[in-house]
């Protein structure tokens, strides 16, 4: 390895990156994915559009209505309309749910007789539908409890639930999704850049400058991968700042661990990109292949959609084959939990990431030939 030669080659890479504007992609793509997905993926439901048809107009029915009005979960309107008209609103996707309070709702209840509330929910998206249903039921039950308490009906022996959610007390989506996205972004972006830098020379023909000169394989790879590594190292900080300040995700763990794991993870991604560049000839093929190989498993096994621990069988095994699971475990730890280096698992996973780098890099280097195919 001759440092001067590597430096000269790297200088050329930086000049090309800047002059071809590829540098914009290096910094725009990761932040863009984080922002788009960060705002775009929403699991919880808020501001569900609800119509209340209050046929009773009693004190009790109004208490119930007001319960729905004073929550962020519902955007409530009270209307006098027929059931059919209201259903029409759902069909036209103007509303998400209808609550119908029957006439003599209060009267029946006070008499101790049965009274039925009608609920219609748009369940085109089942999860969202179920969630809305639960919210509505919960609101009604809590109201019922209050009313009964006021009436002095005894509550002895009743079970009360005292729940505390850990790690994400506010149950914010951002806290659960954004750290996971970092694992996705840092898998895709460096791999694409590394693949492009090498395949570009193959497609143009400038690869002959490597083939026909005394440049060694190690020097060539260093000159190609170091610029990508350095440029993406900055993204580790950019993504951190976006998560903590834009999405207000708490950071409870060791920043050093976050940084170390991320650098290592970038190396995994770069090795993957290099491997792809060795087996492809065209830039477009390299990019599409990289995206397919990184995005799909990255998204499925990032823990964003579903925690790995609740997967079973084949998917559990598959998850362990991709590096993102290991990295995201560490990332969620640094953001939400904070065990840091004290956790055996974190250390083990760091080791596994190192192993990924070594294996991918070695295979890539082995397959890279200083000759035409």
């Amino acid at each position: 390895m001759r440092i001067n030669i590597i430096k000269a080659y790297m200088l050329k890479e930086f000049k090309e990156l800047v002059r071809t504007r590829l540098i914009v992609m290096v910094y725009l793509l990761p932040s863009m994915i984080l922002i788009l997905f960060g705002y775009g993926i929403r699991m919880d439901v808020s501001h569900a559009r609800l119509i209340i048809i209050d046929n009773d107009q009693s004190k009790l029915s109004q208490t119930l209505s007001s319960k729905f009005e004073h929550t962020k979960y519902f955007d409530t309107v009270e209307r006098h309309m027929s059931e059919t008209q209201a259903l029409r609103e759902i069909k036209q996707a103007k509303k998400d749910a209808i609550l119908i309070i029957p006439s003599s709702f209060e009267k029946n209840l006070l008499k101790g007789e049965k009274s039925e509330l009608g609920i219609f929910i748009d369940a085109a998206f089942p999860t969202r539908g179920t969630t809305i249903e639960t919210y509505i039921q919960g609101t009604i039950l809590s109201m019922a409890k209050e009313v009964l308490a006021k009436k002095g009906v005894a509550q002895k022996g009743m079970i009360t639930i005292n729940s505390r959610s850990l790690f994400n007390q506010a149950m914010r989506d951002e806290d659960a999704i954004v750290p996971g996205l970092i694992g996705l972004v840092l898998l895709i972006a460096p791999a694409i850049l590394a693949a492009l830098l090498i395949v570009k020379e193959k497609e143009k023909g400038t690869i002959f400058n490597f083939y026909a000169s005394p440049l060694s394989k190690n020097e060539f790879l260093a000159a190609k991968l170091l610029p990508a590594f350095l440029l993406h190292s900055l993204n580790i900080f950019i993504l951190f700042l976006l998560s903590v300040y834009l999405f207000e995700v708490p950071f409870r763990g060791s920043f050093f661990l976050y940084w170390l794991a991320s650098e290592l993870y970038i190396l995994v991604s770069l090795s993957l990109g290099m491997f792809i560049s060795v087996i492809t000839k065209r830039q477009i093929v390299a990019v599409v292949l990289t995206v397919i190989i990184t995005l799909i498993p990255g998204f499925l096994y990032s823990g964003i959609i579903m925690p790995i621990s609740s997967m079973d069988g084949a998917s559990q095994i598959e998850a362990h084959l991709f590096p993102i699971m290991y990295y995201n475990h560490i990332i969620y730890d640094t953001f939400l939990i904070g065990e840091g280096f004290a956790s055996q698992k974190n250390l083990l996973y760091l080791g596994i990431l190192l192993l990924f780098t070594l294996v991918l890099f070695s295979v890539g280097k082995l397959l890279l030939k200083k000759e035409m195919k």
């Binding site: 001759r2 001067n4 030669i5 000269a8 080659y9 050329k12 000049k15 090309e16 002059r19 071809t20 143009k204 023909g205 400038t206 002959f208 400058n209 083939y211 026909a212 000169s213 005394p214 440049l215 030939k369 200083k370 000759e371 035409m372």
Partner: protein
């Protein structure tokens, strides 16, 4: 033992053998020329010697023997390879100066005074001294090749391998490239292996190797090679004979002929070789046109045709007229504006300035062209064929495009297949066929609707000498039988001889426009068309 000894070298690509047990030797200061058709194995041999492809056999350079790219690694500091393709090894976004620095750096050259003086000398020789700040992407084709060459010379290689460094480059730049090469090999004692598509260039080399189907079939100096074919070369025969190849003023025959002998050219080598392999040029017969139409005397008239790409003027106010039953050659180097001009004629590019009339009709809008489409035939630079359809399917598809009834189309396809000599390949895919065959069936596709005028964009580039000869025969027969008008672009200056009239373009400007005979009259000293064009190029600086 010679400085460079190649013995029994073979290169295989999967099933294909590109170079078949080739041997050669060269000494310091020699320039060895490689000539032969595309796919004859020239490039593969060069890649093997440069150690960039796996090969069988041995290469010995100054006593060091290598059998593989890995073993070649040790002498790579001594070697320089300039692969085929204009500006192939250059980075578009780096300037001339940055290229020289980059190539010096990756070769680990000490940038001392001696080197700087050498670098200045190279820049001066190549005429790039004034352009050191210009990005490679903005250089002309000739300048790119000169830059590639001086980058390849920067580390003073002792073995210089240049794969078609001059193809598609303007004649003046070609001469300049040659001068650099000649000076360097004398000063540095460099062995230069150079392949070329231009026979005038090959004639200047110390030794010429003729390649065919992966083998070297003839070698020697220019004089030796010409002598070797002298007994077989005659003045052109009038009539066709099966064992004789006649092309452009000369006939070639292995058996003695009752005809005047003629002075052979290097191109004759290809014909003699074809005869030795029992390959002859089948006669081209073009049947009469099925329908006759009256044709205006002026087929195409372009006045001040101009095309801008941003700040760059691709075609600068060009006036060209194509008369009825005329073969007009549009000549120029890569980037001179030939293709852009044809694309404007066809409406593939918008005309920025100037006026155009086709077949007596002024072209103002796309609708004006629509009714003319059935009268124009076009073959593009890269033969727009569908690679996953057979030749027959391709032709039927093109017939459908022109709404020719199927029975009539099939009949014509069969006729052309026979006349243009691609009948045996009808059920093959274009990718399996030699370029020459693809070229002929592209012509057939353009002729299916019996057009009045043909626009051909570099149809002969990369096609071997024999196929080119056949191709020109087809064009001449078409003109004769159909009275068709042809506008053809080419960067082979020697092909000008086969046209009725030629227009020469240089960097988007027309610099000559006259009949072939008149041009010769105006330049009595010229030995070939190359010389005539050179005088125009030099006058234009």
């Amino acid at each position: 033992m010679a400085d460079l000894e190649v013995s029994n070298l073979s290169v295989h690509y999967k099933k294909l053998t590109a170079t078949h047990s080739v041997s050669l030797s060269a000494n310091s200061g020699d320039i060895i020329g490689f000539i032969g058709a595309d796919g004859a194995g020239k490039s593969s041999l060069m890649h093997a010697i440069a150690g960039v492809i796996h090969f069988e056999g041995t290469v010995s350079y100054k006593g060091y023997t290598y059998h593989s790219p890995q073993e070649c690694e040790k002498i790579k500091p001594e070697i320089s390879l300039m692969p085929q393709g204009i500006g192939l090894v250059l980075y578009d976004t780096l300037s001339v100066e940055e290229h020289l620095e980059f190539f010096a750096d990756i070769r680990d050259i000490k940038q001392d005074e001696k080197f700087l003086a050498y670098k200045e000398k190279l820049l001066h020789m190549s005429g790039l001294s004034e352009f050191t700040k210009r990005l490679a992407g903005n250089l002309s084709g000739g300048m790119m090749q000169k830059l590639s060459l001086i980058c390849a010379l920067l580390h003073r290689p002792k073995l210089l391998i240049l794969d078609e460094p001059t193809t598609g480059v303007d004649p003046l730049s070609r001469l300049e490239l040659w001068d650099i090469l000649d000076a360097i090999r004398k000063e540095e004692g460099t062995i230069a292996l150079v392949s070329t598509a231009y026979m005038q260039e090959a004639a200047k080399m110390d030794k010429i190797l003729l390649f065919d189907e992966g083998k070297i079939i003839a070698q020697g100096s220019n004089a030796e090679l010409i002598d070797s074919i002298r007994p077989f070369t005659y003045q052109a025969l009038k009539e066709y004979r099966e064992d004789v190849i006649t092309f452009d003023k000369r006939s070639y025959s292995l058996a003695p002929l009752q005809a005047q002998v003629a002075e052979p050219t290097l191109e004759g080598l290809f014909f003699i070789n074809a005869l030795k392999n029992n390959k002859t040029l089948p006669p081209v017969e073009i049947g009469d046109k099925e329908q006759q139409e009256s044709v205006p005397p002026v087929i195409m008239q372009a006045k001040g045709l101009t095309k801008y790409f941003g700040d760059f003027i691709a075609d600068d106010h060009i006036d060209i007229e194509l008369k009825s039953a005329e073969i007009l050659g549009l000549l120029g180097a890569n980037g001179a504006g030939k293709t852009t001009f044809i694309k404007m004629l066809l409406g593939l590019y918008k005309i920025d300035e100037g006026s155009l009339s086709l077949l007596g009709k002024d072209i103002k809008s796309a609708d004006d062209r629509l009714e003319l489409k059935s009268k124009i035939g076009y073959v593009s630079q890269h033969f727009a064929l569908y690679n996953d359809m057979t030749v027959r399917e391709n032709l039927i598809y093109f017939a459908n495009m022109h709404k020719i009834p199927l029975d009539k189309a099939l009949q014509r396809i069969k006729k052309y297949a026979y006349e243009l000599g691609f009948a045996p390949y009808m059920d093959k895919f274009p990718t399996e066929l030699p370029l020459g065959v693809n070229q002929r069936f592209s012509i057939a596709a353009a002729l299916l609707h019996e057009p009045l005028v043909l626009f051909l964009d570099e149809p002969t580039s990369g096609v071997d000498t024999i196929a080119r000869a056949q191709f020109w025969q087809i064009l001449h027969k078409l003109k004769e039988k159909w009275g068709i008008s042809i506008l053809i672009t080419t960067h082979y200056m020697s092909e000008a001889e086969y046209c009725d009239r030629v227009v020469l373009l240089k960097r988007g400007k027309k610099i000559a426009d006259d009949t072939v005979a008149n041009l010769y009259k105006a330049h009595p000293d010229a030995k070939s068309f190359e010389d005539i064009f050179l005088s125009y190029f030099e006058a234009q600086i």
